[in-house]
Structure formats: C-alpha cells, structure tokens
Symmetry: C2
Subunit: 159 residues, 2 copies
DNA sequence: GCATAGAGTACCGCTCAGGTCCTGTTTTCG
DNA sequence: CGAAAACAGGACCTGAGCGGTACTCTATGC
C-alpha cells in the first residue's frame, strides 16, 4: 500500500534519538529509550553504520554516534540505507516490471520517482524533531501547493 | 523498498491504455495490448470500476471505458484504488507503528505523508502519456528544486 | 436460446520483510 | 592477565501479504 518498511520507520526514530545525545550511546540503551526491541535496533544500527550515517566505537564503553548533524541528514538518506534506493516501480533505472513489450510508460515513471525522491530529500531529520506548524505554510516551498484546487498536475510536466 | 505494488503499476498502464480508446474495450483486448496477463487485468478492472474510475457495460459487446478524462485522474487516485491510501508509515492517521510509548515522531510523519500524497496528486495520467521534457524544467513548480545544493529541508518546515 | 463478457468471490502458493540467534572481535577495567 | 562489555557480521526462521488463478453468476446482444 505504498508504505515504507517498518525498519525504515524505526531507523528514523533511532537516528533522531541518537541526535539527542552528544556522547556514544549503546544499542541496548537506544532500544530502551525508543521502546523498540533490542535485536532490531542492533541490526538497524549496523546497517546505518555500514552506510556511513553513524560512527561507532567497539569494546567496553563503546557505542554509536551520528556521523553528521541531524539537519544534514535527509529522510531519503535514511530510507535508502535501510530499504534501498527509492523506486516507485521496478522499471525505473532501466528495470522491467512485466509490461516490457513496447510499454509507453517505460521511462515516464522516472519522473514520478524523481519527484518522490526530491520530496524525501527535502525533509531532514531535524525537521522531524521540531514541531510541524499546524496551520500556516507547513510545507512552504512548493511541495504543498494545493493540487486539489487546480487541475491535477497542470504545472508539473512542462509540456 | 518503498515501491508501490506491481498491481498499482499495472493499473496505471491499463488506465492509460484505456485512454487511447474512445469506445468500450474488453478485458482480453486490454490484456493483449498491454502485454499483461489477462486474469490480472480483469481483476484490476473490477477494482478500478468499484472505485468509480471506470464505467462498464456487461454482456456481449460489453467492455470498459474511462469515467473521467485522463487529465483529470491523478496517479494518487489510481494508487489509492488499488493499493489503498498512501501511508508512509503505520502511524499516520493515528495508527501505531510499534514505538508507541511517547514517541516524539508520532504526528510528524503526517507531514511527510502529506508531501508524498501531494506529489502524487500533482501528476495526472495524461502527464504520463506525453513525453517528459528532458532538459528544461521538467518538474517545475517546486517539487524539483535541487535540495542537494542547499541545506536539505531548510525551507520545508516553516518553523 | 446461445454466445459473449463483466461481477463477484474464494482460494492458494510464493516471496520477502521482520525478527531471532549465534559466534567472533575489539576495547576497557579490575 | 582475565573477565566483562559492546560492536561486527552473519545465518536462519517465520508469517503476513502480494500476486496470481479458478469458478460461478448475471447481464446483454444477436
Ligand atoms: S515497463 Fe513499467 S510501466 Fe511498463
Ligand atoms: S509511532 Fe510511528 S514513528 Fe513513533
């Protein structure tokens, strides 16, 4: 149903929690603070570390810390680390999704994919921490511009 | 990996193919034109019909036709019909995703969800048919505004 | 009345995400 | 030096849900 995996969700939660500390934090401590199961958190941390989003110190008194400040980490980055790159369909980046023979939409999904990716890249983890302004222009720059009122997609594709 | 289901992909293909006809089209004919398996197409058509996106005529000489012109049908609409409403995590619209106890991100995902939904609503099926402008401002209004260059998400949340 | 084609429903197998566990390695501390 | 702490890196298992299939019923046209 077009949702990202629960692991990606948990990864964002874990990263934000990590951002609240300045010193190294252990996996069990993070699990307790976030309320997530410890093995899952440990697994997530390894993945995030492998992607370069975290730094770690082994051994006793070890733990994890962010490699970048929260504001410099986009949600897309975290999702890509856990779930792999954003691909709305299997036929972006040249793959096949079944309707191979002369499908007229073959490359068109890339546009949609790019839009989604841009949207996710425009939101940082720091944005998740601060309260979203309820009424006023929450999403300002253009992502949120009331597409229901105008003709859908009128201004999207330049054609 | 944050992809929509294959059925949703097929649904868009089928809808676009339907848009190329003015008269009723049968499910087998659509299957042949799109290259998709016939049972799957038939199932899809039933779902799309139930959602009001199609009109049908039963019996001999029956078939399907679009209930609305392609330009008035957003991708989000098709996806919602097949895959259900767009929900990036399970904790939008008040649900739980596991980290229930005092999760600081509880409502923040709604913002992300809204952004994704708006992006998908801004692209119509008609936009999928016409060639995406390669160089020039493909995604004009703001969805594509180079978040890599500026600080990610700097202008997103008004706070 | 028969052929056509959609409407509706029920079912089944396969894939993969989500979760658990184990073992090895590194570092600190007593 | 030994023991404990904590990360590193797998292997493995299970369940839900997607994707696909089949069957029957009903409506329409010739
Ligand atoms: S190849 Fe993916 S939509 Fe046709
Ligand atoms: S409740 Fe979904 S992120 Fe915490």
């Amino acid at each position: 149903m077009f949702k990202l995996s629960r692991l990606a969700d948990y990864a964002v939660v874990t990263m934000v929690e990590l951002g609240r500390h300045v010193e190294l934090v252990t996996a069990p401590a993070l699990a307790q603070e976030t309320g997530l199961p410890e093995p899952t958190v440990a697994k997530l941390l390894k993945v995030l570390l492998a992607d370069g989003l975290l730094q770690s110190r082994r051994g006793a008194r070890g733990g994890y810390e962010l490699a970048l400040p929260l504001k410099d980490i986009s949600i897309a980055r975290v999702i890509a680390a856990v779930d792999g790159p954003v691909m709305v369909t299997a036929c972006v980046d040249g793959g096949d999704c079944g309707c191979t023979s002369g499908c007229s939409l073959k490359g068109k999904w890339d546009v949609v994919n790019d839009a989604i990716r841009a949207t996710l890249e425009a939101i940082s983890l720091a944005d998740m921490t601060r309260g979203a302004p309820d009424g006023a222009g929450g999403l300002s720059a253009g992502v949120r511009r009331g597409p229901e009122s105008a003709a859908p997609g009128a201004a999207v594709l330049g054609g």
